[in-house]
């Protein structure tokens, strides 16, 4: 069995109505029929809605990083397939995140996208 090397989010798409789901499922939640098939989602999108997590979430279940908790951005990434996926957002600062272009950098334990540095620098020039 070939090992997957590229980072990709595994979703699904209905073979009847083309509705996309994440995580992947067999049922299409729009048609309410078992008509969905696996689909690798795009790795680039834009930030659709977000907030900043200012306080350490309750632990457990939260596992804080080695250096301790620091506030992080969390939100929904709109992908070209027609779905917004919840993700942690890697960014240098919390300003100007609305509609920021982002790229997938990790899929586990949850999707993680990073703000495209080039795009942001371009926007501020």
């Amino acid at each position: 069995m070939a090992e997957k090397t590229a980072i990709v989010l595994e979703g699904s798409r209905c073979t009847v109505c083309a509705t996309v789901a994440f995580p992947a499922g067999v049922m299409c939640s729009k048609c309410a029929t078992p008509t969905a098939a696996p689909l690798d989602l795009s790795t680039r999108g834009v930030l659709w809605a977000y907030t900043i997590q200012r306080f350490p979430p309750k632990s457990p279940p939260y596992v804080s990083p080695a250096g301790g908790f620091t506030p992080f951005a969390v939100g929904y990434i709109e992908l070209p397939e027609g779905i917004k996926v919840e993700a942690i957002i890697d960014c240098e600062d919390f300003d100007g995140l609305d509609q920021a272009p982002v790229t997938l950098v990790a899929t586990s334990p949850v999707p993680r996208f990073a703000v495209d540095r080039d795009a942001k620098e371009g926007a501020t020039k």
Binding site: Y62, Y76, E86
Partner: protein, 383 residues
């Protein structure tokens, strides 16, 4: 053909911290108050529905109320538990299965309660490890996007909470009874941007009960009945944006379960939102009240900014909202909130709200409860 139904009794326990008093004891108190209000006693109740999120099973209350043998069904629908229980009680009377039915909701949450576990929501454990099982994130993300889209200011967020605390001062049964300035609210610790700690309701304590009756049973009672013009209950449709969702499906703007439930309620009642004199809208945090104003049909998105600045949602305003201080001033005992809202509208329509009474004899009221993940129940009431 639906039967005319009336609310003949409404009762509350105290809200807020009550050391040594169990949630079940609060439920018994609320039921007793609702029955007294109706001029009834427990053996008169022919069917009951109720629930709490974390304070026990409602049907076990028969040990304190009396073993009358009636069907008593437990309801567990998150923040919409009270609304779901009332919907079931009304339908039992409409079906002819009972003449008199009771709905009860109660909870006693400790400080910092609510420990949602990923598996209970159908999510992988990773969502907990990564710090995404935090309810307030959803509210922050939803209102911050809404504010950008519809030009709602952070000042307006603070004003909604300021109104809640101000109304709480006028409500002897509220938990939070001290006024707080918009500035204090706006500059408090940020929880999830743009929402500060004083813009959120807190897990709280309390119980509420409502007794409904058929047309003939209502006529036989001396109770000051309030007519239930409509009650609706919905779960989310495809494409909605809810708490703890790994994704929002579909293109375009998300659908809203609150809009669906409210629209159906107004249609059922044959009443338009513009005719409502007093309303209770789910205010889990200030942004929720703002968004629910539009989702329930009281304005277009964006109009809240000028409406709130002009005081239109104050007790003396054009459409008073959350006159009892809402969830922000009463706290959120999950099971009870939906029925507390109905209690407040019944009290207002009877003209018995004391210092917080809406002036000018309000005749039509509306309630809206919303719970995760995408449940809503609405009522239209009139006298």
């Amino acid at each position: 053909m639906t039967q005319p139904i009336s609310i003949v009794g409404a009762g509350l326990s105290k809200f807020g911290r009550q050391p040594g008093v169990s949630g079940r004891a609060m439920a018994v108190t609320a039921i007793g108050a609702a029955l007294d209000d109706a001029g009834l006693s427990w053996p008169d109740v022919q069917v009951a529905f109720g629930g709490s999120d974390g304070s026990g099973l409602a049907d076990t209350l028969v040990a304190e109320l009396g073993f009358t043998g009636i069907p008593f069904t437990n309801v567990k629908n998150g923040c919409a538990t009270g609304g779901s229980a009332l919907f079931s009680a009304v339908n039992a009377v409409r079906s002819g299965a009972a003449e008199i039915a009771l709905a009860v909701g109660f909870d006693k949450h400790p400080r910092g309660a609510f420990d949602p576990r990923p598996e209970e929501w159908g999510l992988p454990d990773g969502y907990g490890e990564a710090g995404l099982m935090v309810t307030t994130q959803f509210f922050g993300a939803k209102i911050s996007r809404y504010m950008r889209q519809h030009n709602i200011s952070a000042d307006t967020l603070a004003r909604v909470a300021e109104k809640a605390y101000r109304n709480g001062v006028l409500n002897p049964n509220a938990w939070r009874r001290e006024a707080m300035s918009a500035e204090t609210i706006a500059t408090a610790d940020m929880v999830n941007d743009p929402l500060t700690r004083y813009m959120f309701c807190s897990p709280g304590e309390g119980a509420a009960a409502i007794v409904v009756a058929s047309e003939s049973a209502t006529k036989a009672l001396a109770a000051r009945a309030v007519t239930l013009r409509a009650i609706t209950h919905r779960t989310r449709r495809f494409g909605s944006f809810e708490v703890f969702s790994p994704a929002v499906q579909g293109n375009g703007e998300p659908t809203s379960v609150s809009a669906d439930a409210a629209r159906a309620a107004f249609e059922q009642a044959g009443i338009s939102p513009g005719e409502v004199d007093v309303a209770q809208l789910q205010d889990t945090e200030s942004g929720a009240e703002i968004m629910h104003m539009a989702e329930c049909g009281f304005c277009e998105p964006g109009e809240q900014e000028s409406m709130i600045a002009a005081g239109e949602t104050e007790i003396g305003g054009r459409i008073p909202i959350n006159t009892d201080g809402g969830c922000i001033a009463n706290g959120e005992p999950i099971g009870a909130s939906g029925l507390r809202q109905v209690h407040e509208i019944v009290t207002q329509l009877r003209g018995e709200a004391g210092a917080r009474q809406v002036p000018g004899t309000p005749r039509i009221g509306f309630t809206h409860v919303y719970g995760a993940p995408g449940i809503s129940a609405c009522t239209v009431l009139s006298v």
